[in-house]
């Protein structure tokens, strides 16, 4: 399933007359089974864009298509993993992963089977009976990923799923994500603030401008697949991250200067 984002805009109506223009005309197409990463300075509208694609936020203009369906609410083929902690603390790992299937009336036996498979895929076997409170942050995010993947989405949206973790852990989980993604047939749109992570994972990296967000540059990542984090030390990888950083640096400076002037 492919994603088409056509001239999507978003203006948040604040209190009183205050308006925040978060996105100003985003165009992006993600092909079937493609992995696209989005990087951009903080506050440029990345999460807003992803939630519009997920049908959780209404755009102020433009439209999003998933396959042939225009989006005006959550689409059953779209799964999303959020930036914030989103596991259910009152459910065990297994119960968390089973959640969506249970809500959609899938029988106990089938949902158990499918969930255990996903738990194994994300490397959490042995932790089925644990509660999220007993796991590390990285493990909890893997639970959230499994909970989304168990629904077998044609489109997988991820909003900085490893954003709270350090760079080394992130690259190692990136390896795992590559392995997991290669087993699914999902089209992936992945948000990160890490250039390395974006380059390691994706077929294309989209660099967004400072707010109001637009697509500033698209970098093709022609590194061979299957890959793993050992590509990080190749000259080709360095050239790509350098190219991305050049643009991102400029945009991040704009954001910083804006903040120094007292705007936000």
């Amino acid at each position: 399933m492919h994603i088409q984002i056509k001239d999507v805009r978003k203006v948040f109506e604040g209190r009183g007359d205050e308006k925040v223009e978060a996105l100003s005309g985003i165009d992006l197409t993600v092909s079937e089974n493609e992995f696209v990463a989005i990087v951009g300075p903080s506050g440029c509208g990345k999460s807003t864009l992803l939630e519009i694609v997920a049908g959780l936020t209404e755009p102020s203009g433009g439209e999003v298509l998933i396959g042939r369906d225009p989006i005006n609410g959550p689409h059953p083929e779209v799964g999303i993993v959020f930036q914030q902690e989103s596991t259910f603390p009152w459910r065990t790992v297994l119960e968390n992963v089973e959640f969506g299937l249970e809500m959609h009336g899938v029988g106990k036996k089938e949902r158990r089977e499918r969930s255990l498979e996903l738990i194994e895929l994300v490397g959490l076997q042995g932790f089925e009976g644990r509660y999220p409170g007993e796991l590390s942050g990285g493990m909890r995010q893997r639970v959230a990923i499994a909970r989304t993947l168990v629904m077998d989405p044609g489109v997988l949206l991820m909003d900085e799923p490893f954003g709270a973790l350090d760079e080394q852990t992130r690259l190692i989980l990136g390896d795992e994500l590559l392995r997991i993604w290669s087993r699914t047939e999902a089209t992936a749109l992945f948000i990160t603030h890490s250039i390395e992570e974006a380059t390691l994972l994706s077929d294309r990296v989209v660099v967004m401008s400072a707010r109001p967000g637009t697509t500033r540059k698209v970098v093709e990542v022609d590194l061979e697949r299957p890959r793993d984090s050992s590509v990080v030390s190749t000259p080709e990888f360095g050239r790509l991250t350098g190219e991305i950083w050049e643009v991102l640096r400029e945009e991040s400076m704009k954001t910083l200067k804006g903040q120094e002037r007292g705007g936000s």
């Binding site: 779209v78 999303i80 989103s86 259910f88 065990t92 959640f99 969506g100």
Partner: protein, 250 residues
């Protein structure tokens, strides 16, 4: 010794010191022998009263009024708290009453309650319920309000129905707050029952305390107090156990 072990040791030391003080103070002549008597005289009195069946009717009266008022507070308080969260105008309208609620000494209205409800168990149940229910209402409303937005987004992204969102996300996420409300409500309704029994009853542990006090049967008075204390601790512990069951171990 580990920090945890030190903490546990200190806790027990406090209890033991209190017991020792209660035992020793009357013996060295602190306070008069009518108001303060050693624990070693209270405990046999308590067991004697339980064994003879004298305590049974008081325990049943207090237990019944408490169970009734607490149950009522729970089954009315949780839905009311939910409504308060769900319908913002309702919350805005009632807010000033709710925030000043515990400033009102409900106990002072007992003559009115006697006139309206009669000299029976109901004035007691009403006071205890009224004292407890608002704690349940407030904590429930807060609990629903504190559910992280991202959890509701998870539900929305999975196309949950409104009812599923409330029963499978909001409610379980609010459970820790609801339990805080129930624990407070439990303590409040016990206080409500005991305090009401001082004046509104001829039975019950509260009545026993005040009756024994007036009649200088000090050992019986302390026996009743000890039983009240034991009851409160037991109830709190039981509710804590249920909470841990429902919510894993966080």
């Amino acid at each position: 010794m580990s920090f945890g072990a030190k903490v546990r040791l200190t806790r027990w030391a406090v209890v033991l010191a209190a017991i020792a003080a209660l035992e020793v103070m009357p013996r060295i002549g602190f306070g008069d022998s009518i108001t303060l008597i050693p624990l070693s005289e209270i405990l046999p009195e308590l067991f004697e009263m339980i064994a003879s069946g004298e305590m049974t009717e008081h325990l049943l009266a207090t237990g019944g009024a408490f169970a009734l008022s607490f149950l009522l507070a729970a089954v009315t308080g949780v839905p009311l708290g939910f409504l308060l969260w769900r319908y913002k105008p309702l919350k805005r309208t009632l807010d000033p009453y709710l925030t000043t609620y515990y400033a009102i000494p409900i106990f002072a209205f007992y003559p009115l309650l006697l006139a309206v409800l009669g000299f029976n168990i109901w004035p007691i149940v009403f006071i205890a319920w009224a004292w407890a229910v608002v704690a349940v209402v407030m904590n429930t409303a807060i609990g629903f309000g504190e559910v992280p937005q991202v959890l509701t987004k998870v539900g929305k992204s999975m196309n949950l129905s409104r009812w599923q969102t409330i029963s499978r996300i909001f409610f379980p996420a609010a459970v820790p707050y609801i339990f805080t409300g129930l624990k407070l409500g439990m303590v409040y309704s016990l206080i409500g029952v005991i305090a009401s029994e001082f004046v509104l009853s001829t039975r019950g542990l509260g009545y026993l305390v005040s009756y024994s006090y007036v009649n200088f049967t000090t050992a019986a008075m302390y026996a009743a107090m000890l039983l009240i204390l034991a009851l409160a601790i037991l109830l709190n512990w039981a509710l804590g156990g249920i909470e841990r069951r429902l919510y894993g171990n966080v």
